[in-house]
Amino acid sequence: MNLEELNATATSERLARMKKRHHMYVCVGTACQALNSEQIAKALQAALKQSGQSSEVEVKCVGCPGLCSLGPLVEIESQINGQVAPGAAEDERRRSVLYQFVKPEDAGEIVAHLDGEPVKRLETPLNQPFFTRQTKIVLEHCGKIDPERIEDYIAVGGYQALLKVLTEMTPQQVIDEITRSGLRGRGGAGFPTGLKWGTVAKSDPSAYPTNVPEGIQSRKFVICNGDEGDPGAFMDRSVMEGDPHRILEGMAIAAYAVGANQGFIYVRAEYPLAVKRLRTAIRQAQRAGLLGSGIGGTAFSFNVDIRLGAGAFVCGEETALMASIEGGRGVPRPRPPFPAESGLWGCPTLINNVETLANVPPIILKGAAWFASIGTEKSKGTKVFALTGQVTNTGLIEVPMGISLREIVFDIGGGIPGGRQFKAVQTGGPSGGCIPAQFLDMPVDYESLAKVGSIMGSGGMIVMDDSTDMVEVARFFMEFCMDESCGKCIPCRAGTVQMYRILTKIQEGRATRRDIQILEELCDMVKHTSLCGLGQSAPNPVISTLRYFREEYERKVNGAQGSEVSVGSEEWGVGKLTAHSA
């Protein structure tokens, strides 16, 4: 497909959609699908057939619109008079209604009310803060397009950015645009994306020894890291399930910018739906000539393959991920050399997180200045968070960087249910920290989160109320890190075990103050000596709960002095003996 054909497809697709009086969007993301939402779509189709409206109403299975706690969700867009232009968000001639907790047996009633008043018992307001306080870039199409139809993606402007860079921009111009946008890695570390792209583009594949398997021509690679493994995090999953072509487009643009012809999407096997939809998307894009050789009639070729992660959290760490793609054990290796210089099979490799790549097409289309106008001075754009825990609205949100935690928890999240008090919010998954109430008005950006001892991480956000036992929280995450340690380096492999044991001792009331001291020493050591990010951040939940909720630890240890007094210190009892000596 060249630009002309792409535009033609988009136009005809839009026209076909304008013929429909109503559009029904049924969420078939993992959470709603688990609640039988595919049956709802079928029941709606059947009900429409029965009332003879099949031709006028479209039922679409879409990705996650975000408000998982109210699922299954069905959104209905209706034209009031004249025709509806889908995607025209502020179109006055359009009425939208959102139904929550929909069951297949509600289908008849929903269809009967299509042209009248909405079904009151199912309706949830679309103007609630959960929706109005968000700014959607990455998730703009999730819940609006059918992730299994490339035409849907093309209709909302998909692949325009790719063809734009291929036909109008040099690779360096693309890198400059990304650099100017201020986009930073959404995997959590916040490394400037443009800088990373520039490094890969400049890297010489012959600088390090390489061993690329036969049959692969490319000497540079682009990897999309979709090995989202943090407990309570499902941002990447929703993008992969709800808007997979966006990731392919972002990867292709990145590949063009850095000079790669082969890409890999590394997805955990626990995301079967994401894998299925990505596979479908790759097939469709290849058929449309938007992936493969000679994309859009240009000389640029780019292929994408999927690699499945076999359930190791550490494989989200870039060097372990590459080892896994190469077919080895997923264990990290020391950096430098960084993947940008010597990565997959020794070749320069660009590794970006799903959300990072999903930001690329709109930056290309709308410009770096537009993107840089959102967010804070150092953290540009938006961030997707998976809001979970003891908060009224759980689900997926996308907010501008710099929003306060209070806005997220109390406005978007609807506050703490059950009349309980807010206690802490845990950001950044097992590598993150717990942030207490005193920092609720702090802006959410990379630097601020780090300052209070947490991290942005990939976007997990777990809200805790005053019934939460913070030591148990620390123990939960420590157990996770212990189970997920790859075992290569000693501090992480053996240190997490000992930290977990001490936390267990504390929980069982068998610990002394000395144990807390040993725990803190271990936290410091494991943090500074571990080989990779998993180990380096494993102590974070302990460090941050000790920092802000130390009294909970103190309460649990009895007053007894722990064992051992160190030799040579003032505590040592040798002084007591001097009375006996000459």
């Binding site: 009892g573 040798v574 003996l577 001097t578």
Partner: protein
């Protein structure tokens, strides 16, 4: 100048550390000048006394009696010294730990490994019951000083005692003082 009140105890170990202690040979005379032995396997004293200055503990904590005695020792001693690898690490005494609890170990020793009349001895008050997990001394009570070695060589023991008699902390540095095994 008063003499140091000195005790040594034999718990879950082979007595090799005490044998090594006796290898101090003629220096034992000098030691006898400096300390008063108030409790020891080599002295006929039934109860652990009070106001002990230095107690050397040989062996790991392996049974109920050890457990009770070690707390008494801590209470009555100014300085508790883990004496030898079993006290410091659990060592050979603790090699039963991976097998599981006390019952598993007793079954192995008195049932599986016996050809004639296999039976686990049960006579309360005669044999102290084993605890499920053998522990080094510092896992049960605070310990002030450690002398590794299986057994600690006599020279090492002497260096430590010499320092204690002089009222200064011994220098536990280097192969001479620190090698386990």
């Amino acid at each position: 100048m008063g003499k140091l009140r000195f005790a040594s105890v034999w718990m879950g170990g082979c007595s090799g550390c005490h044998m090594s202690f006796l290898d101090l040979d003629e220096w034992l005379f000098d030691l006898a000048e400096a300390v008063e032995v108030v409790y020891s396997p080599v002295a006929d004293i039934k109860t652990f006394p009070e106001n002990v200055d230095v107690t050397l503990v040989e062996g790991a904590i392996a049974n109920q009696d050890h457990l009770e005695l070690i707390h008494t020792i801590r209470k009555n001693s100014r300085l508790v010294v883990s004496f030898g690898d079993c006290a410091v690490t659990g060592n050979v005494t603790a090699m039963r730990n991976p097998l599981g609890g006390a019952d598993v170990v007793l079954d192995r020793a008195y049932q599986d490994a016996q050809l004639l009349r296999p039976q686990v001895p049960h006579d309360d008050g005669i044999v102290p019951p084993l605890i499920d997990r053998v522990l080094p001394v510092h896992a049960v009570i605070p310990v002030d000083l450690y002398i590794p070695g299986c057994p600690p060589p006599a020279k090492r023991i002497r260096a430590v005692l010499q320092a204690l008699i002089e009222g200064k902390p011994p220098e536990m540095i280097g192969r001479e003082m620190l090698k386990f095994g």
